[in-house]
């Protein structure tokens, strides 16, 4: 087990490159779904991934909520999510606001809650029986819905990021009668406390692509307060499907709130300092480590680890000393007796410095090679709050680096216990999509650089690559270029694939949680041969023929025990074996001392032909062949 090994980083309480970098904080999200009659119209979304032709707008909204939950289970499972219908026939909520039905209370999502959403949608009568639509539309429905949402969300932790997401087909719940204005006022009055409590309110109009949806009324609700974080402004007729899909669980993961993973001072030589915050915009999601439950009550167990002195059996209360080196073969200690290192010594070896970023200089961006980073980057943005004035200085630096196409090299110390490393800050400009939505933010990316000790050079290791490197002809390169051109993925982007390992893990886990039979899990992460053939059948063939000649292909794995399959077959076949034997002059090779250059299979061929044992490592085989050849000579 790795944690029995000495790894100072681990003992100091961190797992390098894998540490979760969030400051503690969570999302509380309320899905507030209009349950009035209009939402049960068929949406007709055939072309859109994730929805079927039969789906009604209601199903669309519930599916969005379900996928949102699933995505949160995978990526940040401490978030709390509620699902509430307004304009329902039945009334069920803590405060008994009429025509509001709380399907799921604000809680961490579970398999059960996902199953609840599954049953409530679809063709069954579940919704009609349990919830139902209110017989007639009323401005009060939304008013009560907002009220219920604000009650739910204020019960959660005060430190959470809070959002209410409203799904509706109703452009103007206030109606158009003489009372319209006062209705609007009354509804807005319910939205007010949400804004005061720093809750973000978003509206998702459920309209088919191409149709417009008047936002006049809703802008009132959304902007009752000022959303300083996102500054989102939704114009009339904004593209519904695009916005729905921008929620997590759909193709683009956009709706995570930003969470600073740390703050630091960026100091220039000579002492000038500005403040920055760091964010983890890329963080490898994992399936999480298993925990142990008490089999009796299914409660998680507390794990305590202790260092035990093997001589006395005592529990050590302080971090033990270390000896170096750690040899598995104790005879090695005769070559080098061990030395004892105290915790203090180890600490001063590790150069504890004050946390922060120290600027060392600048170099052209082209100096960074793809093998120079060893972990995911962090995003760096000015921190005006800690040191006012930082934003202006940061922007000046940012623009200067962009203008000269340079990156900044810094020494980076993450916390007092981490060793200093070198990082490069690369300035990035803001990118927006055609709808004006931010695709990538303005700021700097902190790239964690390798030291020379981390970098290996397999590409020039003659044991791996040999010494002769074939040159392609111009014609061959031209064919390859045509192929590259044709197989370039249109509209491709980083993050376009889902991780099948995680998808499978959570789908099966969901079934287990509900005591259902494990589902058949579809694996979509495969080369898309249909697309490749339709896009570049000719180019694929002509590239292959140009490098391999007609009708040739290099072998794959084949079936079981693939790589050697062909040769094994040859071994079985006597005539083939004899032919293969002729390929090499074993005696001459042995005389030149280069027998070792032969492949194991060739050695085995010889052994087999001479009725010798073929088992063992290459060294053994070599020995056997050499011995046999020597005996032949005599």
């Amino acid at each position: 087990m790795a944690d029995l090994e000495y790894n100072p980083d681990e003992v100091e309480g961190e797992e390098d490159g894998q540490e979760r970098e969030w400051l503690p904080s969570r999302d509380n999200v309320v899905f507030l779904i209009d349950a009035q009659a209009a939402i049960f119209q068929c949406a007709g979304l055939t072309e859109t991934a994730g929805f079927t032709e039969q789906d009604r707008w209601f199903d669309v909204a519930v599916k969005v909520a379900r996928e949102f939950m699933k995505a949160h289970i995978i990526s940040s499972d401490s978030d709390r999510i509620a699902v509430v219908f307004y304009g329902s026939r039945e009334t069920e909520n803590q405060n008994n606001f009429s025509n509001v039905y709380t399907l799921l209370d604000l809680d961490e999502p579970s398999a059960r809650s996902i199953r609840d959403l599954d049953t409530i949608m679809g063709a069954g009568k579940e919704f009609e029986d349990r919830v139902g639509s209110a017989p007639e539309n009323s401005p009060d429905h939304l008013r009560n819905g907002l009220w219920a949402a604000s009650q739910l969300i204020s019960a959660g932790s005060s430190r959470a990021n809070k959002r209410v997401l409203i799904f509706t087909r109703d452009e103007n719940p206030a109606g158009s009668g003489s009372q319209a204005e006062s209705h609007r006022e009354r509804i807005a009055a319910r939205a007010q406390p949400l804004h005061e409590a720093n809750v973000t309110v978003e509206v998702f109009p459920l309209t088919p692509p191409g149709e417009t949806f008047g936002m006049a009324f809703w802008n009132h609700i959304i902007h009752a307060g000022d959303d300083e974080e996102s500054g989102a402004q939704y114009e009339e007729g904004s593209d519904t499907m695009y916005r729905l899909q921008s929620l997590p669980g759909f193709t683009r993961h956009k709706a995570y709130r930003k969470r600073a993973s740390g703050r630091a001072r960026l100091s220039f030589p000579g002492g000038f300092q500005l403040a920055v915050s760091m964010y983890s915009l890329v963080q490898p999601a994992t399936k999480g480590s298993p925990v142990f439950l008490n089999a009796v009550n299914n409660e998680p167990l507390k794990v305590e680890s202790a260092f035990i002195d093997q001589d006395t059996g005592a529990v050590l209360t302080e971090i033990p000393k270390r000896i170096f080196p750690r040899f598995s073969d104790s005879r090695m200690y005769e070559r080098l007796p061990p030395i004892v290192l105290t915790t203090e010594e180890l600490r001063s070896i590790r150069i504890t410095q004050d946390p922060g970023l120290a600027l060392l200089g600048f170099k052209p961006r082209t100096c960074l090679k793809p093998w120079h980073t060893w972990r995911q980057s962090n995003f760096v943005y000015p921190d005006e709050r800690s040191l006012p004035g930082s934003t202006t200085a940061f922007i000046a630096l940012h623009d200067a680096m962009l203008g000269t196409d340079r990156v900044a090299l810094c020494a980076y110390v993450r916390s007092r216990n981490t060793e200093p490393r070198l990082v490069a800050l690369a300035a990035a400009q803001e990118l927006r999509d055609e709808y004006g939505d931010q695709l990538s933010p303005p700021g700097m990316h902190m790239l964690h650089l390798c030291f020379a000790d981390d970098i290996r050079t397999p590409e020039v290791d003659k044991n791996l690559v040999g010494t002769a490197f074939p040159e392609p002809s111009k014609e061959q390169v031209d064919r390859a270029e045509e192929l590259v051109e044709k197989l370039t993925i249109q509209d491709g982007y980083v993050g376009m694939y889902e991780n099948p390992l995680l998808q499978r893990h959570y789908q099966v886990l969901e079934a287990l949680a509900l005591a259902e039979p494990p589902p058949e899990v579809q694996d979509n992460l495969k080369p898309d041969h249909d697309w490749m053939l339709s896009a570049a059948k000719e180019e694929l063939e002509s590239f292959r023929d140009s490098v391999y000649g007609a009708n040739h292909n290099e072998p794959g794995f084949g079936k079981k025990a693939a790589a050697t399959g062909k040769k094994r077959a040859a071994l079985e076949d006597d005539s083939g074996a004899k032919e293969a034997l002729q390929e090499h002059d074993y005696a001459a090779l042995a005389a030149a001392g280069t027998l070792g250059k032969l492949r194991v299979d060739d050695l085995k061929l010889y052994l087999k032909a001479n009725g010798l044992k073929v088992a063992g490592r290459k060294d053994d085989l070599l020995q056997r062949v050499t011995e046999h050849l020597q005996s032949e000579e005599k």
């Binding site: 894998q18 809650s113 270390r322 200085a393 070198l422 044991n463």
Partner: protein, 707 residues
């Protein structure tokens, strides 16, 4: 397993004396690394320019009569696996300063002789996976004897070529200012003539840190992690191998050691044991058969049996597949995860070699990257770990073929896209022309690539921490106590982590104008970082170590507050009127207790110590000293990942600043004192902390069978 035999040919002649300690340190760490990491490797050490003479070639010639050839070359260690004796000879100050005259051609001839003799004596070393190397370290100031030199060199080349020796030359050009004397120029010509026809690498080092970092801390054999087909569409395979290109090197492995037992036969071994306890009943141990493995699904824990687990695993077919291509600009480097790989064509496979080279060049010409699905290994039990990689083309050279560098790309689940306010949204933050110009000027003047040579290039900058570890361990292994240099005196640390003096001096006026041009307001509340720094400056690191002994039990009468019984020490010192020592050494003891605490084991002790100090401070009117300690502690805990919870204990026990109410003159109101505890450091949420066991099984698995 691959193995290397290396002859180190080191110039110790009069010209080299200035840099000899640096050479000694580099070799010391190199030999230690060989013992620890490459136990089968063998090394010989040859000094030239030595005062005496001791080498086989000279002996052979003298056997035939008195000879004046190959003088002043000493075979310090013959070819064998290095051991402690190698390190002893390289103890600081121990490496000989030679007074003799011998040139590098003679020295390399002796080295080639050592290798050829070894090959004759042990034919198994002939095998191609035994790499034969000569490392030549010199400043090439001793002019090569001109007589018949070209014949000599030609003969030498022959004797190096037959065993396929790899010659690495390290030319020490520190303080040279780029001006070679005529002798050096001549020598370099001869050297070029020598290396031209053999495999070689020439390194020139211009700074002490480059010389210290000339050897890698650990050499790896480049084994293929994946060998098999790379599919390009349904009907084409290219046979390739994939090997690791970079991986973060950790400090070397050590073993836990306890000196609790004084018994002569003590093993000193320490084991790490895990206890599983019921959350509701902390005293109840739960036996293994009552433990049920589970995974978290949302708020639920889902129990998982061994069968379930096999079904949970993702088990695709292993392989390496092209998914498509993307414009290189669409895949910026900041999207890369984890460490990179290299994909090369199978050795000796002409067809695959041409195919991959054609593809690499096409990508290079078209400025595209390949999107590649990499499924290297799939186990029956735990499944496989799929990755989508960006394959960036890298053109080959004489030494290596065209290849792709593979970088992991994030999956949809790995991305956290958050929105940030555009810089131009709030115009009041936009810098003025003057500010922009100043910054652009600064970016240009702090140029790390100004003099042709790139400073701090990733491919040649060593990790100072690891080098420090090896050098310290190598010195200790000599059997004497060598104190660690302070970080600021450590050449490698200074040259790597501190700004280059010359660069900074060049930009001095600009740097000095920054605070005026870009005013930054400091918050009065005093950021924690600042506090830490100030304290740190007053108390150098080792003062803390010297101030008390960790082995508190061994310490005699309380002359200082130790960590074994801080309260006892403290009170006894107060009794003996040693007020200043008591109050000055207590904070250190508390800090050490907390920092060295395994989990929360020392917390109670540290808290009681603080309580005692607090009481003492009220009694002896030293509230300022206590309050400073608390502030320092708070700053410390704020930046500490694992000891945040100690603050919570202080909150629970209400150990806070001493207010005016308790001791007049502290300058702190009762409200301030109460508020002091409610600090961000206290908001560590328990549910966000990794479990003590938390370990990334996947990350471990992925590389488990590498190297």
């Amino acid at each position: 397993m691959a193995k290397a035999i290396t002859v180190y040919v080191v110039d110790i002649g009069p010209h080299m004396h200035m840099d000899i300690e640096l050479v000694s340190e580099a070799l010391r760490t190199c030999f230690l690394s060989k013992v620890v990491n490459r136990a089968r490797d063998e090394c010989a050490l040859l000094y030239f320019g030595a005062t005496g003479t001791s080498n086989a070639v000279h002996d052979e010639m003298s056997a035939e009569g008195p000879s004046g050839d190959y003088l002043h070359i000493v075979e310090e260690h013959s070819l064998k696996p290095p051991d402690q004796a190698y390190l002893r000879g390289l103890e600081p100050g121990k490496m000989p300063r030679g007074q003799g005259k011998s040139d590098f051609v003679d020295a390399v001839t002796v080295a080639a002789d050592i290798i050829n003799r070894a090959l004759q004596a042990r034919p198994e070393l002939e095998k191609h996976n035994v790499s034969k190397e000569i490392v030549l370290i010199s400043n090439f100031k001793e002019r090569v004897k001109e007589e018949d030199v070209h014949e000599f060199v030609a003969a030498l080349i022959e004797s190096l070529k037959r065993p396929d020796v790899y010659l690495q030359t390290v030319s020490v050009d520190i303080d040279n200012q780029g001006s070679n004397d005529a002798g050096q120029d001549y020598n370099k010509e001869i050297l070029d003539e020598l290396v031209e026809e053999i495999r070689h690498k020439q390194i020139s080092v211009q700074t002490p840190s480059e010389l210290l970092g000339v050897f890698k801390c650990k050499e790896y054999s480049n084994t293929a992690y994946y060998a098999g087909p790379f599919t390009v569409g349904p009907d084409m395979n290219i046979r390739v191998k994939v090997a690791k290109k970079a991986k973060k090197e950790m400090l070397p492995a050590t073993k836990l050691y306890s000196d609790r037992s004084r018994a002569p036969d003590a093993t000193h071994e320490v084991s790490r044991e895990h206890e599983y306890k019921d959350a509701t009943d902390p005293d109840a141990l739960v036996p293994p058969e009552e433990r049920q493995k589970a995974y978290k699904y949302g708020k639920q824990f889902v129990p998982v049996s061994a069968d379930d687990e096999a079904y949970l695993a993702y088990k695709p077919e292993r392989g390496l597949h092209l998914l498509g291509f993307l414009p290189a600009d669409d895949i910026p480097q900041h999207q890369f995860l984890k460490d990179p790989w290299v994909m090369v064509a199978e050795k000796g496979n002409e067809k695959s070699g041409v195919a991959l080279a054609a593809l690499v060049r096409a990508l290079h010409n078209k400025k595209r990257v390949a999107v590649i699905l990499f499924l290297p290994r799939v186990s029956e039990k735990t499944g496989g770990n799929p990755t989508v990689c960006a394959g960036t083309p890298v053109l080959g050279s004489e030494a290596g073929p065209d290849h792709l560098v593979l970088n992991h790309l994030p999956f949809a689940e790995d991305l956290r896209v958050a929105k940030f306010t555009p810089f131009d949204e709030k115009t009041e933050y936009l810098p003025s022309e003057e500010q922009l110009d100043a910054m652009s000027e600064l970016v240009r003047s702090l140029d790390l690539c100004s003099e042709k040579k790139e400073l701090l290039a990733a491919d040649s900058t060593r990790n100072p921490t690891i080098h420090r570890f090896y050098n310290h361990a190598a010195c200790q292994a000599c059997g004497k106590e060598y104190p660690l240099p302070e970080p600021q005196e450590d050449v490698l640390v200074r040259e790597t982590f501190l700004p280059n003096d010359q660069l900074a001096a060049g930009a001095k006026p600009l740097l000095e104008s920054l605070p005026r041009l870009l005013p930054i307001k400091s918050r009065e509340a005093g950021p924690a970082l600042q506090a830490v720094k100030d304290e740190g400056e007053e108390e150098p690191q080792d003062a803390r170590a010297a101030a008390f002994s960790l082995e508190g039990a061994a310490a005699p009468a309380a002359s200082e507050v130790g960590t074994s019984d801080p309260v006892g020490d403290f009170t006894s010192m107060l009794k003996h009127d040693k007020l200043s020592t008591a109050f000055s050494s207590m904070p250190e003891a508390v800090e050490t207790l907390v920092e060295n605490s395994m989990g929360d084991r020392n917390y109670q002790k540290a808290a009681s110590a603080l309580k005692a100090m607090r009481a003492g401070a009220v009694q002896h009117s030293r509230s300022g000293s206590f309050n400073d300690t608390m502030k320092h502690l708070r700053a410390l805990l704020e930046s500490s990942q694992q000891h945040k919870n100690f603050w919570q204990l202080l909150m629970a026990q209400r150990i806070t600043l001493i207010s005016d109410d308790e001791a007049p003159g502290s300058g702190i109101s009762a409200a301030e004192a109460a508020e002091f505890l409610e600090h961000p450091a206290s908001h560590a949420q328990v549910d966000d902390e990794p479990a003590p066991m938390a370990m990334d099984a996947e990350a471990e698995d992925e590389f488990a069978d590498m190297d």
